[in-house]
């Protein structure tokens, strides 16, 4: 079935550095991937998405890279700020005719001053 996973449960970076959060997926049935950010005490919020006909997509300070050859997805955050501290999830459609998403286990990004 569909699945996504993240490599590291925790990532610690210095404020101002770039952060890279990784995600791997198990098969290529889905053509769409999404990154969510969950701050403490809040629900997840959409950050950026990418379709499989793209290798790269950029937003404000964030870039998502998709490597279909090795089935790997990454979220890059430029010039990390304290407000970037959160848990980040990659997700993909669950498939089977449902409109829901299957989420990875999440990476907790910790910003060091």
């Amino acid at each position: 079935g569909e699945s996504v996973g993240l490599h590291l449960p925790t990532l610690s970076v210095q404020e101002g550095d770039n952060s890279i959060i990784n995600c791997a997926y198990s098969n290529s049935a889905s053509d769409y991937f999404i990154w969510y950010k969950q701050e403490s005490g809040k629900g997840p919020q959409f950050i950026i998405d990418i379709r499989s006909n793209m290798d790269k997509r950029q937003g404000q300070r964030v870039t998502v890279l998709l490597n279909k050859t090795v089935k790997h997805l990454s979220l890059q955050i430029a010039a990390t700020q304290p407000g970037d501290s959160a848990v980040y999830f990659c997700a993909r459609p669950s498939g089977g005719g449902a409109d829901g998403l299957t989420f990875g286990k999440g990476t907790h990004l910790i910003i060091q001053p």
């Binding site: 959409f46 998403l101 299957t102 989420f103 286990k105």
Partner: protein, 114 residues
């Protein structure tokens, strides 16, 4: 802005009690979802609904039921709460068809079953 509101942020219940978690969305979305979130396990789908009175099982429906009597409201029911249902419960809504894939989440309901 889309708003998904979960009625209770924190609940403490006893084993065997019946528990209702309520969720309301104000964007006229067809799809609504209930997830639970546990450390190290991420978000897991319990049930979802794509229309009023319609419901579909997710990945972990055992011990739960749902109700969708009105489009804006999706309730999660624990008929007889157990300690392994202690968790964070997240409600979400979305437009149908997965056009953007974006789910809009509420702020969560943290349930403790003693």
């Amino acid at each position: 802005d889309v708003k998904v509101t979960q009625s209770s942020r924190y609940l403490v219940k006893r084993t065997g009690e019946k528990v209702f978690l309520e969720c309301v969305q104000d964007m006229d979305h067809e799809n609504m979802f209930w997830y639970r979130q546990d450390p190290g396990l991420g978000l897991r789908l319990i049930y979802f609904s794509y229309d009023v009175k319609m419901k579909e099982k997710g990945d972990i429906p055992e011990g739960y039921s749902v109700s969708r009597e009105k489009k804006e409201r999706f309730s999660l029911i624990l008929e007889s709460a157990s300690t392994n249902q202690t968790s964070m419960y997240l409600c979400a809504s979305s437009l149908p068809g997965g056009l953007t894939g974006e789910l809009f989440f509420g702020e969560g309901s943290r349930l403790t079953v003693l």
